[in-house]
Symmetry: C2
Subunit: 420 residues, 2 copies
């Protein structure tokens, strides 16, 4: 389908029309003609910017948004999350992921890295939503080799079955949970499978100080070195959190070409105590993306909010207001600094047609000394008027078809999952 | 004017109608009848909650929102803010404050404490906007006794002239800038004037470590003790920031009954390095409010965003996810813990008719395990559909009359103020 988007304002360039075909931007220009038969969308002067990329989340956990905040971690897991998750069906995950996709579209996210239970529940929901995802079912084998074998078999099967989905939308990803929940044997299996089939791996790493201490105790090395010993530190790997990485680990990650995803809101809400070493990672040229983590520990998927908080905590932690300026935070939130995530963060002919139209003239966005500053420090997801992803219009004037059905389904399911 | 608001959802109470007269809530009930001649507003099941209170801002600085971010403080002041402020007229301040009021109404703030230049520009704008304010023209006398005399005379005059404005809306407040910009003589004068005329005092205190060091060097005591020696630590005093207060200072502030206002976003954006000692202040029973600081160092006036960040940084700094739970953050943002600011944070018969109607069923607010959790951790100012303040409907379905004129005026004035 050919779409002609009239009258968009491109930052630092001015008014342009944008022509889209087959999920790509064909052309952009002031004097571009609208081809016959194209679907026309008049942006009416709204700013056009690349869509955002959520580098780490557990989408279906929107079901548990606000279900036990401000609690000690183990008490929250034991009395709220685990009992509720024990009831989860694939259909629950499907609807929870649909809800997450609604929220992501409403706040300008076009692609994300997901990790949760029930692979097909997740993949089907994202494909129907029109977003792009790297997704896998969590691998955990703390129960022993039988569980390990089961989760490796599942991963193989989901990889094969992922061909059901459009390759543009759903990318199978290996998602071993973490070094303290997955055996060295399964981690090595992931490394081999990732290499053989060229699939990405997405894993939690160095989220808490406790994880580092246990790793040192059990394996004699810090988490990044442990992962590297299993062959799992490669350019295909996404490392979520990375709060406690030391300089030697950052050197190693830089050398291996892995990608780091920071989740500042989740880290603060769960009070892990540390701050992601952004300056040290950036100085080494490590690819970096921004994640919300799951809605149960954030409690939103609105990256506009998180990019501000990311910039604020970095300035705070380094006692330097010049650290992570708005333009850098914006780049990171669009995926421009993490090629593995598949989005260029650029709006130009030849690029994926994944972009946003913004209501950038609202009172809170006035004056507009600098649009990007306003986007990072002022805007929330509500600045997004329309979302184009993979060449389709997913939201127009903040309306997403089918929204009411999702809300109804989720509310009904919550009664079964969370009231006991 | 009598207003009858039908079908509001009160958290933990259920559906109620609310009857307002003369700026107060007359009655609330399920079966309340609508009196003849009342203006009727159908809330259609929207949640009703108390309006928010911004304990520290410089409203007209919305003019300089995003005008130089991510810069070292002195470079920002010297190359951006001070040259622009040198051009400011009373009319500029009037329009900048109008813009701030638009933004505050749109994000659910009903009352605020303001401090800036051109008293009448500020007061007139707030009165016309329908909000409530404690406001004064900044007092600074670093240039010497002549400047001191001038600013004391101005304060006396503005106090007398503040009778022009509705006492419900505009409360004259003494606003000495800080201990490092106001002489002990002027501080003592403020203490005497405040006592004699029963007017509040609003001052910056202990924002940076440098301020503490200089105070120790110049006066031999820490900032709170210096202020107390001038007689300026009383139950009528609002202390903004308070980042570096030690236990002895907190004991003294608690004993004197002064109010602390934390500005977490501004503190992080300017990288002052410390975190407001919330737990230590709360344990001593010190009244606490939340402020955005000016839009030039935030860059929004949206308290919904700031209450989340406040809760996050407190958990982070104390390494404890149970610190400052959502309900406490919400209370503080509504002014319930700072009686001096004049808002009770309660929605009940006899209270001021200052409240919000919220779009609490949006996808990002679903599911609703806990409305207050969603308001603190998820919502931004865009959740506010309608604002009632001082018994008047200031915004209805997100429409505020006169918005376009304010935006036009501000954009025109920016050209003169900020392009050179």
């Amino acid at each position: 389908m050919i779409i002609f988007i009239k009258n968009t304002l491109l930052p630092e360039q001015g008014m342009r029309h944008i022509l889209i075909d087959g999920g790509r931007i064909l052309a952009m220009g002031e004097d571009l003609e609208c081809p016959a038969g194209a679907e026309v969308l008049d942006a009416g002067g709204m700013a056009a910017v690349p869509g955002l990329v959520n580098g780490h989340t557990h989408a279906a956990m929107t079901l548990f948004r606000g279900f036990g905040d401000d609690m000690p971690l183990m008490q929250w897991l034991q009395t709220r999350i685990w009992p509720a998750e024990a009831r989860l069906t694939e259909e629950d995950v499907y609807w929870g992921t649909r809800l997450a996709c609604l929220e992501m579209i409403r706040s300008g996210t076009v692609a994300f890295e997901d990790m949760y239970w029930h692979f097909h529940g997740m993949a089907r929901a994202v494909e129907e939503s029109g977003l792009r995802v790297g997704v896998g079912a969590v691998m955990i084998d703390i129960a022993g080799e039988e569980q390990g074998e089961q989760c490796r078999r599942d991963a193989e099967r989901f990889h094969a079955e992922s061909s059901r989905y459009s390759a543009d939308r759903v990318r199978f990803t290996l998602t071993p949970h973490a070094i303290y929940t997955v055996s060295p044997k399964s981690l090595r299996w992931c490394a081999a499978f990732s290499e053989q089939h060229d699939v990405p791996v997405h894993i939690h790493l160095s989220e808490t100080q406790h994880e580092v201490e246990e790793c040192l105790k059990n394996h004699g090395v810090r988490p990044a070195f442990h992962l590297d010993r299993q062959g799992l530190l490669t350019p295909r790997v996404i490392l979520a959190h990375g709060v406690w990485l030391d300089d030697a680990e950052l050197d190693l990650i830089a050398e291996r070409g892995a990608t780091l995803v920071t989740n500042p809101v989740s880290n603060m809400k769960l009070a892990v105590g540390g701050i992601f070493p952004y300056s040290r990672a950036a100085a080494r040229g490590i690819p970096i993306a921004l994640g919300t983590d799951g809605a149960a520990s954030n409690n939103t998927l609105d990256l506009f909010q998180d990019m501000k908080i990311f910039a604020l905590v970095q300035k705070h932690a380094s006692h330097d207001p010049t650290v992570l300026p708005a333009h850098a935070a914006w780049e990171i939130a669009t995926g421009a600094r993490a090629p593995l995530l598949g989005q260029s963060g650029r709006l130009a002919p030849g690029e994926k047609a994944d972009f946003l139209l913004l209501r950038h003239t609202a009172p809170e966005m006035t004056p507009e000394h600098d649009l990007i500053s306003n986007l990072v420090y002022v805007a929330t997801g509500h600045v997004v008027d329309s979302v184009i992803a993979n060449g389709k219009v997913l939201m127009k004037n903040r309306v997403i078809p089918g929204e009411e059905e999702v809300l109804r389904e989720v509310r009904a399911r919550i009664e079964r999952l969370c009231r006991w």
